[in-house]
């Protein structure tokens, strides 16, 4: 049972940051020049430094699965990048004063604080493991310009995606401490998602009784519209 297939997409980011030809292949797979540009930026945010690190790692070591700390760093940097995006989203939204309802505003403020703490914790962890991802350049102006409804619906989408992103990585994390921390963040993202779903009139449990995970590829595709050059 445990000797099943390799993670279908779990190591996608690792491959992309290590192997120019697989990066090219992946970009081709994803499609258009816009997509490629956005992904390159995403990778610049969370992969470049790692690429340098991997230069010193032998292929053999990689194959033998000796790089637990290294693969954990990639997951932590992936999470850090998502948290950077979320934190900026709420900072921008709160600054724009687009949320009018008091209870919703309080929830948004709470979520913003949580995301900032996640950034701090993940940044500290990434530093311990190696080189942290850089803060991605993102813009949420189009969403903010779309008004309160669009802002809240986007927030709900982002939180559901974030929760699924953590769930998608849980089984790949090698360090039990990092797993425990990721789980502690994962459920907070789930809480955010449920509250926002409720606010926008969606089911608090859109997947039913069992939440579904999302792979790195799926998540990358969804966040790329927010990345800017």
């Amino acid at each position: 049972m445990s000797k099943t297939v390799e993670p279908e997409s779990g190591s996608a980011l690792e491959e992309l940051t290590q192997d120019a030809s697989s990066r090219k292949r992946f970009l081709g797979m994803v499609g258009g020049a816009g997509a490629a540009g956005a992904l390159t930026m995403f990778l610049a945010a969370c992969g470049d430094d790692d690429e340098k690190d991997s230069a010193g790692t032998s292929g053999e070591e990689k194959k033998s699965g000796g790089g637990g700390a290294k693969s954990d760093l990639e997951i932590v940097n992936y999470a850090l990048t998502l948290e950077y995006l979320e934190a900026q989203f709420y900072a921008d939204v709160l600054k724009a004063g687009v949320v009018t309802d008091k209870a919703v505003g309080e929830a948004a403020k709470r979520i913003h604080e949580n995301e900032e703490e996640h950034v701090d914790a993940l940044l500290a962890t990434a530093k311990k493991l190696g080189t942290p991802a850089k803060k991605p350049k993102a813009s949420f102006q189009k969403v903010i310009d779309g008004g309160e409804k669009m802002v809240l619906e986007t927030a709900a989408t982002v939180e559901n995606l974030g929760a699924a992103a953590y769930l998608g990585q849980a089984g790949r994390i090698k360090s039990k401490e990092i797993l425990a921390a990721a789980l502690a963040i994962h459920t907070v993202e789930g809480r955010h998602a449920a509250a926002l779903n409720k606010i926008v009139g969606k089911s608090i449990v859109p997947d039913g009784a069992f939440a579904k995970p999302a792979s790195m590829d799926e998540v990358l595709k969804q966040v790329k519209p927010f990345l800017v050059s």
Binding site: M1, G171, A181, I185, V188, H192, I204, G208, F210, S215
Partner: protein, 212 residues
Amino acid sequence: MSSSKLVAPELASIEIKGMTRHAFMMRSAVAAGSVYGLSTVGPFVGRAIAQEGGGDVDILNFALTLEYLETAFYTEALKNVQGLGGEAKQIAETLRDNEAEHVDALTATIKDLGGKPVAAPGVDFGKAFANQKSFLKTAQTFEDLGVSAYNGAAPQIKSKEVLGAAGGIVQVEARHAAAIRFLRGQPITPGAFDEPLEKQAVLDAAAPFIKG
């Protein structure tokens, strides 16, 4: 990680290998009532799974007890809470259904692993059903406790399939907790990190509701 509070001290040295999407989908199939494909691959694999899942069965039975408790709580609440209506009633129905599905999935998984599912505990919810307000307050306690219980136990799970399934359940518990908190006008999160609780602390917290 940076904060020692996040690290459950009781974590055993278990290497959790990568959970695959494929594996997760297999688990979803288990949740739906089928069995890892055991009927086709035979008893050898069944024994292997049972061995791998030795400690996992204990964790799953612990989770099952909590899910039984939650299911009974919402089932009785829907019958007994004075003046239960509107959003509170809707949430109670959703949560009852979700918890019942968790019970079914955990029971099936324990059996698949060669374990014996624990019986449903006797329950006593005291004055929790006196009114809608007291019901929601107790519901929040249950859901927050459930989140911390799973977060405390999950890093010790050996099987990546079981870990994936537990992750899918705990996120739903967290969603329940947030929905109830929002309805009550409480902060939707207790903090930025849902801290893990050790098994004994969870059982102590649940003890007042368990009788017999």
